[in-house]
Amino acid sequence: MVRFFLKQVMSGLLLTVVVTAVTFTLVFSDGSGIARRVLGTNATEEQVTAKVHELGLDQPVVVQYGKWLSGLVRGDLGASYFTGEPVGAMLTTRVPVTLAIVTIALLLTLILSVLLGVTAAVRGGWLDQLLQVVGIVGASIPNFVIAIALIFTFAIAVPLFPATGYVSPDVDPAGWARSLVLPVMAVLIGSIAGSAQQFRGAVIDVLRQDFVRTLRSRGISERAVIFRHVLRNAAAPGMTILSIQTIALLGGVVLIERIFAMPGMGLLANSSALQGDIPAVMGCVLFTIVVVVVVNLLVDLLAGWLNPKARLS
C-alpha cells in the first residue's frame, strides 16, 4: 500500500511539472508582447525593451521556468505585474472561495450520483429512463446557462437566495451557506448528470458478472449482494469519472464565479488573463492542476483500498 501510494504521488508530481511547463512555455513564448500589454499601447520600443529586461523575459523560457519552479518549492510564486502583490498572497484570499464550491460540489456529486446511479441500475424501469433523460439534458447544457436559469428562478422570480456575492464564513456562516447554494447547484447539475450515468453503467456491468450469480446462489440476500459486493466492485470504474468531473468542474467554476460574482480563483484567472498578468495566471493554473492531482490521488487510493488487485499489481 505504501509503494502504491508513493507511485501515485510521483505520477501526480510529474503531471504537475508537465502541465505547468507546457503552460509556462506557451504563455511566456512572447516576451515583448507581454511587456507591451503591461505598458499599454502607447509605450515606445525602448520602454518595452527595458520592461522585458526588468521582468526577466529576455532569458530563455527554460531558465525562466526553472526560476519559477525553484520559487515554487520555496513558496514564492512571483508577483503581479500590475500591483506588485505576491501571487501567493493573492491566491490565499481566493482559494477558500473556489475550494468551498469545488469540494461541496464534488462531495455532493459523489453521494448523489452513487445513489441515483445504483438505484437506476438496480431498480430499472421508469426511474432508470427518467435518469437517462435528465442525464442527457443536464450534461449537455453548459453550466453557465444553467446558472443564469437558476438566478432567474431562485433569485429573481422567487427570491430565495442571493443572486450574486460571497459572504465569508467568519462573518456569517449562514449567509456563507446561502451564498453558496446557487453556485454549487449550477455546477452540480451537470456533474451529477454525467457521474450518475457512469455509476449506473458500472453497477450494471458488475451485476452481469458471474460471481454475482454465485453469491446469490449461496443464499446471500439481494440487498447484501448489492451493498457488500456489487458496490465495492463498481466503485473503481465508477470513480474514474470523478477525476474527469473535477477537470470539468474547475473549468465550470470560472464561469460560475463570474456569474455569481464570487471572488475566487476563477475570477482572478479571468481578470488576470484579460489584463495579461501572467504570474497571476500561472498561479491559477498551478492551483487548478494541484486540485486535479489531489483528487486523482484520492480516487486512486480509494480504488486501491477497495480493490486489492489495483493495489497489488
Binding site: V19, I148, G219, I220, G252, V254
Partner: protein, 607 residues
Amino acid sequence: MTSTTGPSVLGRLLRNPLGLISSVVLTLIVLFGLASPLSPHNPNRALLELTNAPPLTGEYLLGGDQAGRDILSRLMHATLSTMLACLVVLSVSLLLGVVTGLIAGYYGGWFDAISSTTANAVMAMPGFVLLIALYAVIGPSIMTAMAVFGVLIAPSYYRLVRGLVQTVRSELYVDAARVSGLSDFRIISRHVLRAVRAPIIIQSSFVLSAGIGIQAGLEFLGLGDPSAASWGGMLQDAFNNLYIARINVVWPATLVSVTTLCLVLLGNALRDVLQEGASQVRPLRAKAVSRLRAERERPEGERPEGERPEGEHGPEQRPEPGSGGEARPDTAGAAEPLLSVRDLVIAYPTSPSAVRDVVRGVSLDVHRGEIHGLVGESGSGKSQTAFAVLGILPREAVVLGGRLRFDGADLGSERVLRQVRGRRIGYVPQEPMSNLDPVFTIGQQLVYGLRASTSISRATARSTLLDLLARVGIKDPRRTFDSYPHQVSGGMAQRVLIAGAVAADPDLIIADEPTTALDVTVQAEVLDLIRELREERNLAMVLVTHNFGVVADICDRVSVMKEGRIVETGTTSQLFANPQDEYTIMLLNSTLDDAVERPAWAEVNPT
C-alpha cells in the same frame, strides 16, 4: 462504399424520433446561420432609440440590445461564427486524433507508446483554465482558441480510433488482405476506415456539443472577439443587463442550450441507429410478462409454436420421465423425487413485447443420491434450466411456465428460494476465476456466504470452511483462505467454489459444466472429488455438461437437450448402449470419434 450504407442510415436516423427532432432542429439552426448575409440589419448598427427595445418594436423583430443593435441580426451572425468555430474544432481534432490513432493502432510500437502517453497527459489537463491562460498569448481570437480546444479534445478521437483499429487489425479478414499482398494504405482505407467511421461520427456530435459550450463560455468571460457578434458575447451583454431587459437573455441562452442538447441527442440517436446490435434489450415490464403468460395458457389449437401440453415433450419413442419400466438407481425407487421440474419454459425478450423461447417445456426428476447429467450443445438451454432451479436466471429472463418442486416445496416462490439457496441447494459454476468476487479474500466471501444461509458463528464458519478446503484437496487451506481470488490457480478456485457449494451441507448440487474450464488432469481430480462428496454426503446432483466422457464417468441418469427440449432421457448405460433419438446418436457418434474408450467403459460396466 458509402453508397451501400449511406441512405439507409439517414433513413433509419429520421425514423428514430429523437434523431428526427434533433436533425430538424440542427438543420434549422444551420440554415439560420447560413442566412446571415441576408440578416435584416447590420449586426453592429446601433440605433440609440432602440436601446433595450422589447421584441417587435420598430424594425427589430426580437428587440434591441443594450447598445441599440438588432438582436435577430446579431444572433444570425453569431450562429455563423459558431458554425465556423465548429469546423475549426472538428478539422483540428479529427486530423490530429484520427491520424495518430490510426497509426498508433495499426503499427503500434514506439509511436503508440509516445502518443498514448501524450494523449493521457493532455486529457488530464484542465482544458478550460488552460484556454483562459492562453488568452494572454492568443488574444481575442476565438478561432485560434477553438483550434487549441481541437488539440485538447483530440485525445478522445485518438483513444477511440486506436482501440477500434487494434480490434480490426486482429480480425482474420485483415490478415487475409495482408497475406494477399494489399498495401497498408489500401487495407487502412478499405477495411479499417470502414470500421471506425460510425464511432467517429457519433463521437463528433459529442465533441461539437462540448466545443460549443466551451466557445460560448470563453466569449461569456469576455475572451472572444468583442467586435463580432457571438452567442456567448450576447449572453454576457444580456446578463450584465439582466435587471433592465430580462428577455434579452432568453434568445442566446436558448440557442446555446438547444444546439448543445440537440447535438447530444443526435449522437445518442446515431449510436442507436449505427450500432443497433450493441443496444441491449431491456427486461420486460410486469404487464408484458403476465400478458405473455396468459397467451401461453390458451387452448392447444391457438398456442404458438414452441409450446406443448404437459407430458408431451419430444419424439414419441422417448420414455417419459418418472414413468416406471426403465432401470433406475436403487436409491430412487418409487419415492418422490428430490427435485422435480415440469414443463419449464424460459424466454428472453427480443423487443419490448416479444420474446424468444430458450427452454421449451423441460421436465426432469432428480432423486436423492443420484447424479443426473444434462447434456447438449451450447445454446440448448441446459444452463438456463439449471439456473432456474436456483432462481438465479439473469434479470431479463422470463419464466413463462412450468413448476419446480424441491423436496415438496414450490421453488416458484421467492420465500422458498431464499430458504433453499445455499442451505439446501448448492451451485458449482463453470468458470472458476470469474465466479469469485475479486475484491474479497476467499475466506471472507466463503464465510459470508455460509453465514448468510445458516446461523452459525463466524468462528465456527471459519473452522468448518478451513476443514472443507483441506477436504477438497487444497494443500495449504490457511493460505488459500487469506488469498485474493487472483492469487490462486483455476483448479484451486474451482475447489474453493465446490467447497463453497457444499459448505452448508445441501441435499442437491447444481453443477454447471464444473470441469470445462479446467486442464485435463485437474478435470479428472475434480470429477473424483465430486464423486467422493456425493458418496460421503448422499448428494443429489444436476450436472450440466456437453461432454459425454464426463457423463459416462459419473452420471447415473442422463437427459439430452436440444433447442430447449429434452429429446431423450434414461440411465447412463441405457443411453450409451441403446440411444433412441437421432440427435443423441449423432452426439454419441461425434464423441466416439474423439474418445473411443468412453462408450467401451459404459458397455463393460453396466450400472
